[in-house]
């Protein structure tokens, strides 16, 4: 508790201000969502995919940006959520999209807990390697259990019912898009509450100095495990959204590449800030859509060059650098 009070005074931002920022964030997301809907009515599938990946990147930000755990295996939760939602529909006939999403959330959270128990045993490089080993293990398991997951052919036969029995999932993806925007908004508001809570502060403290947190009487591992479960649930939501909107689940959802890309998006936008995660996802996915359509290998080279450039010139990411710039300017004008 002392810690929470301390950090809040250090950060020195009054509560009302952050509430206004929350509202602004929600408004910005809503404006972007509306703009996407109006500007690209033919490309709603891509926009929905951006929404689901944005949930994954937000989840990754929770553990990497706020807790300082470097992981290359976060797609495990995304994939678990996607497969859970898909299996509920394809094998059990539970086609209500809300129930499917709930299934994805639960599966993601369970996977998060499982991975946390293993990941938190090590630190540094071994931890990173554990995360990689875990994502490969999940991938192989999904590949092996092909009677459940469809193996490398992917899981098909997902038929979500209309949302609330009213809005049917149409061919053009209108419903899926609004469903995704709603999920993202809810997740965003909840996560803003989480990262601002004393628990969120504790996690930031663990990132700065775990030894000191332990000396203060809190258990870093318990807090990190809790954050992992939350993060898994958020990523699982993204997975469920992707399963519901595309009506297939491919093995790619559980791949190392998906995890690495999520990390790239997060760093591009800026770690340790929910806005950064969203901005990074949006920029990366749009960029990818245009460039990789031309040549997938040039795309890889460009991502590489982009990464090197971000590390060298904008270590805080695009959002972080821009925010720092405006803060400086604001102070200079004052």
């Amino acid at each position: 508790m002392t810690l929470a009070v301390n950090t809040q005074t250090i950060l020195g931002r009054p509560r009302g201000g952050s509430f206004r920022r929350d509202l602004m964030g929600v408004a910005v997301i809503a404006v972007f969502a509306a703009a996407g809907y109006i500007l690209f009515p033919d490309n709603l599938a891509l926009l929905t995919r951006i929404l689901s990946v944005a949930l994954l990147v937000l989840a990754l930000d929770l553990v990497t940006g706020y807790c300082g755990v470097a992981t290359l295996g976060h797609a495990a939760f995304f994939g678990s959520g996607a497969y859970a939602a898909g299996i509920l529909s394809a094998h059990y006939g539970i086609n209500d999209p809300l129930l499917m999403t709930l299934g994805g959330i639960v599966a993601g959270a369970v996977a998060g807990l499982l991975c946390a128990v293993i990941m938190l045993r090590a630190h540094g490089l071994p931890q990173l390697v554990l995360s990689i080993a875990l994502i490969y293990l999940f991938h192989e398991l999904a590949n092996k259990a092909s009677s459940w997951t469809g193996g490398s052919d992917g899981l098909s036969g997902i038929m979500p019912d209309p949302v609330f029995g009213l809005y049917e999932f149409d061919l053009f993806g209108h419903t899926a898009y609004f469903f995704g925007v709603a999920l993202l908004l809810i997740a965003f508001v909840l996560l803003r509450l989480v990262v601002r809570s004393p628990f969120g502060m504790l996690c930031r403290g663990i990132k700065e100095d775990p030894l000191r947190i332990r000396a203060m009487g809190a258990s870093p591992n318990a807090a990190l495990a809790k954050m992992y479960v939350i993060s898994g649930a958020v990523a699982g939501t993204g997975g469920a959204l992707s399963a519901i909107s595309t009506q297939v689940v491919a093995l790619d959802a559980l791949s190392f590449t998906q995890s690495a890309e999520a990390l790239v998006m997060l760093v591009l936008g800026g770690t340790g800030s929910l806005f950064g995660a969203l901005a990074g996802t949006l920029i990366f996915m749009l960029f990818e859509d245009y460039v990789s359509a031309a040549n997938p290998f040039h795309w890889l080279t460009m991502v590489g060059a982009l990464l090197i450039a971000v590390v060298l010139f904008a270590p805080k990411g695009i959002y972080g650098t821009a925010a720092a710039y405006f803060t400086r300017r604001g102070e200079a004008n004052r």
Binding site: Y136, V264, L300, T301, L307, V311
Partner: protein
């Protein structure tokens, strides 16, 4: 008995190739504390150069190996100067991103320059056949890979334990600041070890081309394997890396022989189990 024997030989050869490639990574990681995900990319560059020299220019295997090692080192030096220098001592996430970025770039460029197909490296005539042990024949190339691995292990052991450079290296690994204060030029130690590491990676890439085929996604596909070997063995330890390579090579090869449909499942399961029991690697020291 036949199966056991061929599994053993293949596992040994595979483990040795892994060792040759990843020992450089282990040493640089222990020395400079850099999580270098681009190490596999250097092995891939070596493979490409060897393939170009041996197959397209037709200059023979020995020359191909030498050319691969030398040219890869020459390519790596500016990368080290311009990019790696800036991430020494930075947080892990930064290092991971920078080196993944380098890997992606190298993959893209390799594909652009050499095409997406698999490259073969024609072996020298004496390495092609197989040798008869009376009850079983072994391909000579496997033996060659095993011998190369042993030679590298012995050579490194000698260089690190018995030469004055080795003393400086060990001092820098243990405490770089203290070693610098005592007059060890750590910059030079770093540069030489990096060059040796890259050269060994290229050498391993060429020798192991039969087991780990050279193609543009090589860098990404085996990057994880090399990283796993290093962290299981414990960064900076030669015996640790050797044990890890042999152990993981055995597990992976056995899994592939006996249960091919499981893919790399057992490999990663073993990795998780080992790291959970030895969080600092098999030969990791408690700091």
């Amino acid at each position: 008995m036949q199966t056991v024997f061929s599994i053993a030989i293949d596992a040994l050869a595979y483990g040795m190739v892994l060792f040759v490639i990843s020992i450089g990574l282990s040493v640089t990681m222990g020395l400079m504390r850099v999580v270098n995900l681009a190490h596999g990319a250097f092995a891939m560059i070596g493979g490409y150069i060897a393939s170009y020299v041996a197959r397209d220019l037709g200059l023979g295997y020995a020359l191909a190996v030498i050319a691969a090692v030398v040219i890869t080192i020459i390519i790596a030096i500016p990368i080290e100067r311009l990019l790696y220098r800036r991430i020494y001592g930075q947080p892990e996430l930064t290092q991971v991103l920078m080196t993944i970025g380098i890997t992606f770039c190298i993959i893209g460029i390799a594909n652009y320059a050499m095409g997406p197909t698999l490259k073969t490296i024609p072996l020298a005539e004496p390495l092609r056949g197989s040798v008869d042990l009376g009850f079983r024949t072994i391909s000579i190339h496997r033996l060659f890979a095993i011998i190369c691995g042993l030679a590298v292990a012995l050579g490194l052991w000698f260089a690190i334990e018995k030469t004055s450079f080795g003393v400086k290296l060990r001092a820098s690994v243990d405490n770089a600041a203290m070693a610098a204060a005592l007059g060890v030029r750590t910059e030079i130690v770093y540069a030489i070890s990096f060059a040796v590491a890259v050269g060994l990676a290229a050498f391993g890439g060429v020798v192991g081309a039969e087991l780990l085929p050279v193609e543009p996604y090589y860098a990404l596909r085996y990057m994880v394997t090399f990283l796993v070997v290093v962290s299981v063995g414990g960064a900076g330890s030669i015996p640790g890396a050797l044990i890890a390579c042999l152990l993981l090579g055995a597990i992976d090869t056995t899994g592939r022989y006996l249960m091919p449909e499981f893919g790399e499942f057992f490999f990663y399961l073993a990795v998780i189990a080992i790291i959970c029991v030895f969080p600092r690697g098999l030969a990791g020291r408690i700091k």
